[in-house]
């Protein structure tokens, strides 16, 4: 059987509780973004565009929608005969079974899956970020530097550095230390949670880590420190471009608004690096004689009779006469009644907004409103595990 040079493993198990009701029934990577996409479209499309045709998607929490969405992978051209996309939930073996206990444990438990492809390298991805990245270039760097592990990093503003995991590197780019959210950062290279490992090396560390009773079986907390401890060759690969963690309601809203500028940093119309997505087969959108539309992304199957200003509208949304949607994100199949006003809000899939309702706060810099079935809640900062 043919061998795969590099297999990607996408950690899609997170519940994403900071996204509140948006993730009540769906895993975070399945959250909507950009008028058409789900977050997971970005890493999956990056894989396809980077020539990586074998991707394991590790699921655990509410996988039904994710399973259904990924399907056979044909949306991303990942319906391959050998390889392609495989959804990997935890399973029971002859000696029992258990849920994934950490990111490293999730990979450990799928060693058998990886071994099928005899990969030289394994690319570890998370399903939480919006970005376009050529993993092949990173792999080339990883191979050229003969690293055991390569971690993709991003230069963040110095004032933000203490919110990230910071990689301290020497002059050759080799990682000499790793600080998780340092109070006094020595560097502004933040880890993007994208790793490439030599598979035989990683495998050995995963097996050893699994034996450690106090390990949390996490890449950031256990595996990377163990590599550092053993003086393994770890390189930092600097990524330049748009990258956004959309782990909170605010950041999800912001990332959507980022798309509306005339030349957004994240170009969705670039045919040379397409973001693939499941395409619902709906008629062309209809902009009525009464409509006003500006500064907007609107998807097929929509009907706009009212005003849309600086907003992102997913498929199947109907906006009736005299309604106003401003600075907002309207998720699929929302029905917005007459004379409704929506400001600075995210409206969850399938919501029905009765005539004359007002949602959100028009004040600039006011909090973003998240409206879901059970009513509206205001987004402030929550201290939650993800």
């Amino acid at each position: 059987m043919k061998q795969k040079e590099c297999v990607a493993m996408l950690l899609a198990g997170g519940q994403g509780t900071r996204l509140k009701s948006l993730t009540k029934q769906i895993a975070k990577p399945a959250v909507y973004f950009g008028g058409k996409y789900r977050i997971i479209d970005f890493p999956l499309s990056n894989c396809t565009n980077s020539g990586i045709d074998t991707v394991g998607v590790l699921t655990q929490y509410e996988p039904l929608i994710l399973n259904d969405y990924i399907g056979i992978g044909s949306s991303w051209d990942l319906d391959r005969k050998f390889g392609g996309v495989s959804v990997l939930p935890p399973y029971m073996q002859a000696d029992g079974g258990d849920w994934y206990t950490g990111t490293a444990n999730a990979i450990y438990r799928n060693i058998k899956f990886l071994n099928q492809y005899e990969p030289e390298h394994v690319l570890i991805l998370s399903g939480d970020h919006i970005y376009k990245m050529d993993y092949e270039e990173m792999l080339d760097y990883h191979k050229a530097t003969e690293a055991d592990a390569t971690i993709s990093v991003l230069e963040v503003p110095w004032e933000d550095a203490s919110r990230f995991g910071i990689m301290n590197t020497n002059e050759s780019g080799r990682i000499v230390d790793f600080d998780e959210k340092p109070a006094y950062p020595l560097n502004n290279l933040a880890s993007m949670g994208v790793y490439i490992f030599k598979w035989d090396v990683l495998k050995q560390y995963l097996i050893e880590d699994e034996q450690k009773p106090n390990s949390s079986h996490d890449f950031g907390k256990d595996i990377i420190p163990a590599f550092l401890n053993d003086d393994r060759r770890m390189m930092a690969y600097t990524f330049k471009g748009y990258w956004k963690d959309v782990g909170t309601v605010d950041s999800l809203w912001e990332a959507n608004m980022d798309l509306l500028s005339e030349n957004p940093e994240l170009n969705l119309n670039d045919y040379s690096w397409q973001i693939y997505s499941k395409n619902p087969n709906q008629p062309a959108q209809y902009i009525a004689p009464t409509a006003h539309v500006r500064n907007a992304l609107i998807n097929e199957g929509c009907r706009v009779h009212g005003t849309v200003d600086t907003s992102v509208i997913f498929y199947g949304v109907h906006i009736e006469d005299s309604a106003l949607v401003k600075d907002s994100v309207i998720m699929p199949n929302v029905k917005i009644g007459k004379n409704v006003k929506i400001y600075r809000s995210l409206i969850a899939e399938g919501s029905v907004i009765e005539d004359n309702t007002v949602i959100g706060n028009p004040e600039p810099d006011s909090d973003i409103t998240l409206h879901a079935e059970e009513g509206s809640v205001m987004a402030t900062n929550y201290a939650v595990t993800n």
Partner: protein, 368 residues
């Protein structure tokens, strides 16, 4: 359940859409912002649980092949049954068949092998949303040999001149099929027939040297069989000329007409393209227009249809026009009453204005 197999017979459809049919057959002409004409016939069949469909194509069918793939968009890329494009590619010196009977004769295999009791034959020019299971029900209740489908039109337009009309009695039995220019009962080029009976008629037609199965084998023998008329009552458009294409396209800007064609429970499907949502910039102004994904609109658009990936520059003004896939209309261009085929480019500042009843048509890949 009684099963129906479908045949989409393009053999007698003339390529009357001028520039739009230079490089493709009429069935492959883009329509309604993201479809092709043939999508309606196929989607109606798929929605009516017709799982084996043959397309009889003779000329300029390459873009059809590209569009239909193996029927993937309609879930018809199946191991048993599915969608087949059957161009003429036979070579049998003993074959006596002529005209569209060549298709029927040489594709007897398809008809025989299809797991079906009935055959529904359709063209591609009658745009509608119809359920053929309802037709079958009525066909059986009427105890008919053949059921032909018609539309009672409110008003006669030039396109109806080319269509056949039905003369029917109060039991909806067909007395005559003719070209009565005053009749409003427009035959929609669709009929349902029992499979074995069809086989028999085909053989007899070939033996008689016929070249048009429906006209000679059915219409010509009307008195010998029981032909029932089924009235289709929904949104209908007959597209067989540039003028009817233009008028019927813009008819879809009417919400009721649009909803009559695009229904959630019997969706019109088409080949999937991956495009970003349509983008409207700060200074765009769009009204009464159908817009497909991938468009980027800076300018002013009204009473128009924009297909996928169209770019409208700043200050450009588009009225009463149909702009097909991936066209680029540069800043300050002015278009009115035009149809622009795929991949065209209109240079900044230029103006093209056609007449409402005779739009200006630009063939694909032109730069003006």
């Amino acid at each position: 359940m009684d099963r129906i197999a479908g045949i989409i017979n393009l053999d007698h459809e003339q390529d009357l859409l001028d520039e739009l049919t230079y490089f493709r057959c009429g069935a492959a002409v883009p329509f309604a912002g993201r479809y092709r004409m043939i999508d309606f016939a196929i989607s109606n069949m798929a929605n009516s649980r017709i799982e084996s469909i043959a397309v009889f194509a003779r000329r300029k069918y390459r873009s059809l092949m590209d569009h239909l793939e193996q029927g993937k968009a309609w879930d018809l890329d199946r191991r048993s049954g599915g969608l087949f494009i059957l161009p003429p590619d036979w070579n049998d010196p003993t074959d006596m068949s002529r005209g569209d009977l060549q298709h029927f004769h040489n594709n007897m295999d398809f008809i025989q092998r299809a797991r079906a009791d009935y055959i529904l034959v359709s063209g591609s020019q009658n745009i509608c949303n119809i359920n053929f299971q309802d037709v079958l029900q009525e066909h059986k209740e009427a105890n008919a040999d053949v059921t032909v489908i018609y539309k009672e039109v409110d008003e006669l337009y030039p396109e109806h001149r080319l269509a056949h009309k039905l003369d029917i009695d109060e039991q909806n039995e067909v007395l005559d099929i003719n070209n009565d220019q005053k009749s409003t009962k427009v035959y929609m080029d669709m009929y349902l027939i029992e499979k074995n009976f069809m086989n028999k008629l085909i053989e007899e037609s070939i033996a008689h040297g016929h070249s048009h199965f429906f006209l000679e084998g059915i219409k010509g023998r009307l008195q010998e069989m029981r032909v029932h008329a089924y009235e289709y009552k929904g949104t209908h458009a007959l597209v067989n000329s540039v003028e009817s294409y233009f008028r019927n396209s813009r008819k879809l800007l009417n919400r009721e007409e649009h909803d009559g064609l695009f229904k959630e429970d019997s969706p019109i499907l088409t080949k999937v393209k991956n495009e970003a949502p349509a983008k409207y910039l700060q200074d765009s102004d769009v009204k009464n227009t159908l817009v497909a994904n991938g468009c980027v609109v800076h300018g002013h658009v009204e009473d128009s249809i924009l297909f996928r990936g169209v770019k409208i520059g700043k200050g450009a003004v588009i009225k009463n026009s149909i702009i097909m896939q991936r066209c680029e209309i540069e800043d300050n261009a002015v278009l009115e009453n035009v149809i622009i085929d795929k991949d065209c480019k209109i240079t900044g500042g230029r103006t093209f204005i056609g007449a409402p009843e005779k739009p200006y048509v630009l063939a694909k890949r032109k730069s003006m």
